[in-house]
């Protein structure tokens, strides 16, 4: 069986690209291919991942300059054709800036850069990224960001909830969505959202940093596994 190619975009300032590459490569049958921001060729990828980091130094706003890079024009077309696109942390910021997802991420409520393990729940387990999770289970996945405070106008928030587009929420250790469990001030504890078509997911937590026993948690692994089952048609 030939290997399925998964593209990992590398912007100047990406710093989770190799963690993401490692996560993809840990599944047999998948081959990660690094895609440079100045290229136009997606090299036959069946899914694209925008990794975490500080693309273009986060100048102006996080993700704002990356959004206009040559590779992103291809990624936007690719997403428009219904192929899966996953944005993690800075990748989520790029997806919002590019208009593939709705809303924006501003500075964390308590001014701090947050780097810690956090509890989240997959509140929609019927997306192509979350089929292997259960709604009731609490996942332990790291966050590392200064601008993860999700904001959108009230009508957008209502529409996201109505169409089950909120996929991950910050919770306490018991899985309750409380204000105390909200690390960054995100509206309604939103940690990740998907587009209406269901093929573009963005989230602030780092599943690629919870993909190996050595890293202390395997809770991120099923996100990749769900996606890879989908693209391999398994």
């Amino acid at each position: 069986m030939s290997e399925i190619i998964v593209g990992v975009v590398v912007f100047p300032g990406s710093n989770c690209d190799h963690d993401t590459e490692h996560a993809v490569a840990s599944f047999s049958g998948l081959k990660p291919v690094m895609l440079w921001h100045n290229d136009h060729d997606l090299q036959g990828a069946k899914a694209i991942i925008l990794p975490g980091g500080f693309s273009y130094g986060d100048y102006l706003r996080a993700g704002s300059i990356a959004r206009f890079s040559p590779i992103m024009q291809e990624v936007i077309d690719f997403a428009g054709k219904g192929f899966p696109v996953l944005g993690i942390c800075n990748g989520f910021q790029v997806l919002l800036e590019s208009g593939l997802l709705e809303g924006a991420l501003s500075r964390n409520r308590d001014k701090k850069f947050l780097c810690s393990r956090t509890s989240i729940r997959a509140v929609n387990c019927s997306t192509i990224f979350t089929t292997l999770y259960k709604e009731a289970e609490v996942l332990s996945i790291p966050i590392a960001h200064g601008e993860g405070n999700y904001f959108a106008p009230p009508e957008v928030i209502e529409s996201l909830e109505e169409h089950d587009q909120v996929v991950f929420k910050y919770t306490d250790a018991q899985g309750l969505v409380t204000d105390e469990a909200n690390p960054n001030g995100s509206l309604r504890n939103i940690a990740g959202i998907i587009n209406r078509q269901g093929n573009v997911l963005g989230l602030m937590p780092h599943p690629e940093r919870a993909n190996d026993k050595l890293l202390g948690s395997l809770d991120g692994r099923r996100l990749f596994e769900s996606l890879f089952r989908h693209i391999s048609g398994a």
Binding site: A104, S106, K111
Partner: protein
């Protein structure tokens, strides 16, 4: 004759400005009791090599909405100055 576009980008009032809040706190700590509030934004200068002000203004507005500000959480204002 080019124009100098002076663009100010500010966070919308409904968005928490944590930088502004930190600086506001510091100003109060310095004893400036009449300082009521502080908001932080960005100031951007772009030189646009256009003959007419109408086209320079169109470009100024377009780049402000497309890249320089994020309309979901920011407002911008544009001022044009004729430079020799």
């Amino acid at each position: 004759m080019p124009y100098l576009a002076k663009i100010k980008v500010t966070l919308r009032q409904s968005i928490l400005d944590v930088q502004g809040k930190a600086v506001d706190h510091a100003l109060k700590n310095l004893g400036y009791r009449t300082v009521e509030s502080t908001r932080i934004g960005k100031y951007i200068e772009v030189t646009i090599n256009e003959e007419g002000i109408v086209e320079a203004e169109r470009i100024g507005n377009e780049i402000s909405m497309k890249l320089l500000s994020n309309p979901v959480m920011e407002n911008y204002s544009l001022e044009l100055e004729h430079i020799n």
